[in-house]
Symmetry: C2
Subunit: 179 residues, 2 copies
């Protein structure tokens, strides 16, 4: 993951694993198969779930935001993303698989959670899928982009997640009287 598919030779991968090159080829038919398996295994590490339950909505969204950012913005999460993005044009079917089992899964969980909150009247009735997309975008986009480009991240502000959730809550607070 650190060096990307093309940057890491099978010799170095084997050495790093403390294993002979032939042993790698005993387990995987090709370097590409090893790469795909590694990516596929890593997918579960970028999915975040929420259990649907009543309670303090903003706090639970803040917890979700921290969990999501911990996974996606960690050095491992960023390296996974980096390694993947460059290779996907060659591997379209892998891309669709990862999309379904990774980001799409997280998105589905969040949308269901938001849908529940809307039904309980804790959020304004609206398209929960769109709301989930907006929230994930606010939580991830800027900091991921900055980390990818600037390589070293200069401390992403302590209250970031709380501010983002506050923004989301304002956009989706239930109507108060006639607008």
């Amino acid at each position: 993951m650190k060096d990307g598919f093309r940057g890491a030779s099978v010799d170095r991968i084997a050495a790093a694993a403390g294993v002979a090159k032939q042993t790698v080829y005993n387990h995987f038919p090709s370097k590409e198969a090893l790469f795909e398996e590694t990516i596929r295994t890593g997918v579960r590490d970028v999915v975040v779930e929420l259990d649907d339950a009543p309670g303090n909505l903003p706090d639970r969204l803040v917890a979700y935001g921290h969990a999501l950012r911990r996974k996606l913005l960690s050095p491992e999460g960023l390296a996974w993303f980096r390694a993947l993005v460059g290779e996907l044009p060659r591997l379209p079917e892998l891309g669709r698989l990862i999309w379904r089992e990774g980001p799409m899964e997280t998105h589905r969980h969040l949308a269901e959670f938001i849908d529940g909150a809307m039904r309980r009247g804790e959020l304004r009735q609206d398209d929960p899928a769109l709301a989930a997309e907006m929230l994930n975008g606010m939580l991830i986009h800027y900091d991921r982009t900055r980390s990818l480009f600037a390589v070293v991240e200069p401390a992403p502000a302590a209250q970031r997640v709380e501010q983002i959730i506050a923004c989301f809550m304002r956009a989706y607070q239930p109507d108060r009287g006639i607008q």
Copy 2:
């Protein structure tokens, strides 16, 4: 851009340009220098500006959203991003340069625009930089991620930008009486 730095050989680049390999090396000392120059040139194509003026705020934000998405989510914008992201760990100073002259520049323009609207009372007073980050995240994150992973995009919904701006306007509408 289509094949990434490692995927495109200098021979093929020269052939595609209808030029001899030596001619490439007459203009650039190395393949890497050619890559950096190409990226640096492409930066201006991902910057979006707004001129500060009064008027229908949502419509102007919608126009901005369309312009931003046209640049970042086009096949060229995505290929540029893809090619860049994989190589940045090797080229940290290039990454910082591009960040400053690309995304950061767009962000600065938007934040200034939002700041003006806040000062005029068209938006609630708040941190304009944070507001700009939220809006860009909502406009780009989901669709860019989906395009990067799924490779083929299944029509991103006609009213997308209008919905996003409506969400942003709700989050940042001026206070109406006591909240």
